[in-house]
């Protein structure tokens, strides 16, 4: 993605078309929608778990950065995923 179409003060919300939940059997977070399922990998699941309609993108980055302090700067990855999730209509901004 060349240019991000949102800024970090925006508050993402999960699109009401989707339901987000942990699936024990799959051992991952999933997004459920009519008759389908998107399985999220570890990092994607961690980010989506913080999308609650209250935290801003900036707050999500700060929390994850603190939680995974050994991982170096992960803000770029988080922004890229949020852009992707927005493009896929999993979230609204």
């Amino acid at each position: 993605m060349s240019e991000l179409s949102f800024d970090a003060t925006q508050i993402p919300t999960i699109n009401k078309m989707f339901r987000f939940q942990w699936e024990k059997a799959q051992d991952c977070y999933v997004l459920l929608y009519p008759e389908g399922m998107i399985q999220l990998n570890g990092p994607a699941g961690e980010i989506m778990a913080l999308v609650d309609g209250e935290r801003s993108v900036k707050q999500i980055i700060e929390e994850l950065q603190a939680k995974f302090s050994d991982a170096g700067d992960i803000s770029g990855d988080i922004l890229a995923f949020i852009g992707e999730a927005h493009g896929q209509q999993w979230i609204t901004l």
């Binding site: 059997a25 991952c28 929608y33 009519p34 008759e35 399922m37 998107i38 399985q39």
Partner: protein
């Protein structure tokens, strides 16, 4: 999204998008509960068995809830309430509530006939996630002719509007065939007007009643190509307008040269339970000469993992030529065993849709006949109890 577990669109294919990890396999992610064979409509392409009238008994509320709980333990996440018409079951709200508490994403697959605003609101409260409404056509008279009901169309429109008004995601399912496919532009416009989130333009597949009616259903190649082109035009136009509606076009395999990877593989992701409790790897499989277990007698775990029926077509030991040596066998698993059985009499044969099948001529003949047939709705064999009993007696 692809075609779903609806009896109104024949063969479901579970859509699983992936984000970075491998797709799991071997778990019944999709549980389709065919609650009843009763239905107020008479669609001539219904995928219920021809002899459905012979299976009058239905699982109890408790038996269904027990099946749902076992399915959830096995990893099932999508639950479809289907039929027949699931609204006929008086305990539907209890079943929805129970399934929701277990953590299922719950889908009601309905004709909309028998639905009203109050029920819809109660279902929502009980935890119903999504309602799919099936239509027969965009046009009142064709719709009602196909449904065998004079009031169906107006009721469907009203219910589709109500589904959105109550905040549900909505899938509209149009089974297309030679009588309605030329109006696909109108069908799409109707779906846009009704604010559908997903639209399944599912070309009829030929199982159950649809197989009996294939001549009056199968579109010509020209009809199909035009419909696909029109759909693509609308996709472009709607996307340009910023409309998030998703149009899913399901082509009939009769115009393919390779079979579909039916059900994403036999006993891989999909489990159907019939009204009387028979567990099947797909909702057409009841026709096959295989003994399938019943959930009233056997646990779902044992059915899924150990029953001969669910293991029958797993792997490729069962394959004959041309499948056995085919380099695409891991992609299509030999295609659809029901289709092989219906058309060639041997379910171990390659799906005759495949150009490598020695029986492929049967498919070519059907295509050729589609060029000759004159549309005549009086030739339809409608799906109702009377016709079912006549057929069952043979």
């Amino acid at each position: 999204m692809a075609s779903n577990g609806s009896p109104c669109s024949a063969h479901p294919q579970l859509p699983i998008a992936e984000y970075g990890i491998e797709k799991p396999h071997g778990r019944p992610l999709w549980l389709l509960a065919e609650l009843t064979y009763k239905c107020p409509l008479q669609c001539p392409y219904c995928s219920n068995p021809l002899d459905f009238a012979d299976f009058g008994s239905e699982l109890t509320t408790q038996q269904w809830l027990d099946v749902f709980a076992q399915g959830r333990e096995l990893g099932a996440v999508q639950l479809g309430f289907s039929g027949g018409e699931p609204l006929v079951r008086q305990d539907l709200i209890e079943l929805i509530g129970g399934a929701h508490e277990m953590g299922y994403y719950t889908n009601l697959i309905t004709s909309g006939v028998g639905l009203n605003e109050r029920k819809m609101a109660e279902f929502h409260k009980a935890g119903l996630d999504h309602i799919q409404v099936s239509f027969q056509a965009s046009d009142e008279s064709v719709n009602n002719m196909l449904a065998g009901s004079k009031k169906a169309f107006a009721q469907k429109l009203k219910m589709a509007r109500e589904v959105k008004a109550q905040g549900y995601p909505m899938v509209l399912n149009f089974v297309t065939h030679r009588h309605n496919i030329d109006r696909i532009d109108r069908i799409i416009e109707l779906c846009v007007e009704l604010e559908a989130d997903y639209v399944e333009l599912a070309t009829c597949q030929y199982y159950g009643w649809a197989f009996e009616n294939v001549e009056q259903l199968l579109p010509t190649r020209a009809q199909l190509e035009r419909a696909e082109a029109v759909t693509n035009e609308y996709r472009g136009k709607l996307a340009a307008e910023g409309n998030p509606i998703k149009l899913i076009f399901v082509t009939p395999d009769y115009y393919e040269e390779r079979p579909k990877g039916c059900m994403n593989g036999w006993g891989q992701v999909f489990l159907t339970v019939t009204p009387d409790g028979k567990a099947l790897p797909c909702h057409s499989a009841r026709m096959l000469p295989i003994e399938f277990p019943n959930v009233a007698e056997t646990s779902l775990e044992e059915i899924w993992s150990k029953s001969p029926g669910f293991n029958y077509f797993r792997g490729d030991d069962w394959m004959k030529e041309p499948c056995r040596s085919c380099d695409e066998k891991d992609k299509d698993f030999g295609g659809c065993h029901c289709q092989a059985y219906m058309m060639t009499g041997d379910m171990h044969n390659a799906d005759p849709v495949c150009g490598k099948s020695q029986h492929h001529g049967l498919i070519v003949d059907a295509r050729d006949r589609a060029e000759q047939v004159i549309n005549n709705s009086e030739d339809f064999l409608f799906r109702n109890e009377r016709n079912s009993r006549i057929i069952a007696k043979g």
